[in-house]
């Protein structure tokens, strides 16, 4: 049990890294990695929302949707739950910890329709994971995404000084860079066989 949970964590953080191996969350990945500060802020918000969102959706899927046999509605219900939760978190944070809200609030708005946040509960449902396994997947994915954001942000800060051909500036060169990092992440594959 414990071993499987740990395996899922490592696999989702490194081997099946959401950005480099599953190509999800690219919009945010390219959007917030211009500055290190925003990348770090996004990482924390993202991991938090992902873990809580996965737990909420796990409970709803297992205790409400499965007994009622409405599993086919999972897309509609998961996105509703996540949107409602993010909105609630936004309101509560504004009231309770205004300081934290002004630091991380802007990221919350971006997160609602992010593919990774939605992908984690969908994978949990498809694989019939238990609570601990779902949490491991959410935490691992959060850690993997944070790692990706921070690596990319530190490279892009250096890229500002590089002399890039005009046609390749901006997104194209970022894609090529991501490809190089993905190549490095290929080295992790085969580390654990699931």
């Amino acid at each position: 049990m414990g071993e499987k949970v740990f395996t899922i964590f490592i696999a989702s953080a490194l081997i099946n890294n959401f950005v480099f191996a599953r190509y999800l969350g690219l919009c945010i990945f390219f959007g917030v990695t211009k500055k290190m500060e925003t990348a770090v802020g996004m990482s924390f918000t993202f991991t938090g929302v992902m873990v809580i969102g996965a737990a909420l959706n796990w409970a709803i899927y297992n205790y409400i949707m499965t007994p009622l046999h409405i599993g086919f509605l999972k897309i509609v219900i998961f996105i509703g739950v996540i949107a409602a939760f993010v909105q609630a978190a936004d309101t509560i944070m504004k009231k309770v910890t205004p300081a934290l809200y002004y630091k991380l609030g802007i990221y919350l708005a971006l997160i609602t329709t992010n593919c990774i946040i939605l992908a984690v509960p969908l994978i949990n449902a498809d694989e019939h994971y238990g609570l601990f396994e779902s949490m491991a997947l959410a935490l691992g994915s959060g850690a993997g995404f944070s790692l990706a954001l921070i690596i990319m942000a530190s490279i892009r800060e250096k890229l500002e000084l590089a002399d890039v051909p005009k046609s390749m500036q901006g997104l194209p060169i970022s894609f090529v860079l991501t490809g190089l990092i993905a190549l490095a992440f290929l080295g992790f594959s085969g580390m654990i066989t699931l």
């Binding site: 996105i79 593919c115 939605l118 500036q169 060169i173 894609f175 290929l186």
Partner: protein, 215 residues
């Protein structure tokens, strides 16, 4: 009548070329890399997106007068989620082998910025027919972009197109660059095609050549 036709054509063309969702607006990039290791997968994904976009734009346009502006974003989300569920179930039933490979990405059409943004920018303000045309144009632009990336990657990675082997040497299939169908290859292909289109735009059409430069 002719002016009407021209304007429909302009709307359609805008989606395919002027504001191509993948190369110009740089929205919804995830599937552009994820499912394009082959032309077939890329095209099927494009068809799924095309269908969802047309239906969502039509639905939003039909009920736009009944949606309270304060809850319009959640309304879009539920409309999109409904049509994605329809697509998902249809593909699961009739395209079993493809669905196994890209089922997750089909479900994630729901989180595509491009679908939501067309509902907000276009369908909410226009009548039924132009909205359908706009959805079709944007979906078509998306489909063509995915197919283009798929052609590059499958040809370089496997020496094949649409699953048929093209390059042979001594009776054995040739795989020129295996890396092209690996995850990393998707990013390279994407970056290089985008850069190439920027170059063509600047060199021959006098554009600014800043596709995706907004990021």
């Amino acid at each position: 009548m002719s002016t009407n036709n021209t304007s429909y054509w302009t709307v359609f063309k805008n989606g395919v070329f002027g504001e191509n969702p993948v190369f110009r607006l740089a929205l919804s990039l995830c599937p552009a890399v994820a499912v394009t290791s082959g032309v077939k997968n890329g095209t099927l994904m494009g068809v799924a997106v095309l269908f969802v976009m047309v239906m969502v734009n039509a639905t939003v346009s039909l009920i736009r007068n009944f949606i309270n502006p304060k809850v319009r974003i959640p309304s879009y989300m539920f409309i999109i989620a409904t049509w994605v569920t329809v697509t998902d179930l249809v593909m699961a039933a009739y395209a079993r082998d493809v669905y196994k490979q890209m089922g997750l990405y089909i479900m994630l059409i729901v989180a595509f910025a491009i679908v939501l943004s067309r509902a907000e920018v276009f369908a909410m303000k226009n009548k039924l027919i132009p909205s359908i045309i706009d959805g079709a144009g944007m979906g078509m632009g998306f489909l063509l972009a995915l197919a283009l990336i798929g052609v590059f990657r499958e040809f370089l990675g496997k020496g094949a197109l649409w699953g048929f082997q093209i390059l042979w040497a001594d009776g054995k299939p040739v795989k020129p660059m295996l890396i092209a169908i690996l995850p990393a290859g998707g990013f390279f292909a994407m970056g290089l095609i985008m850069g190439g289109l920027n170059w063509i735009d600047r060199r021959f059409f006098g554009g600014t050549g800043s596709g995706g430069g907004a990021h």
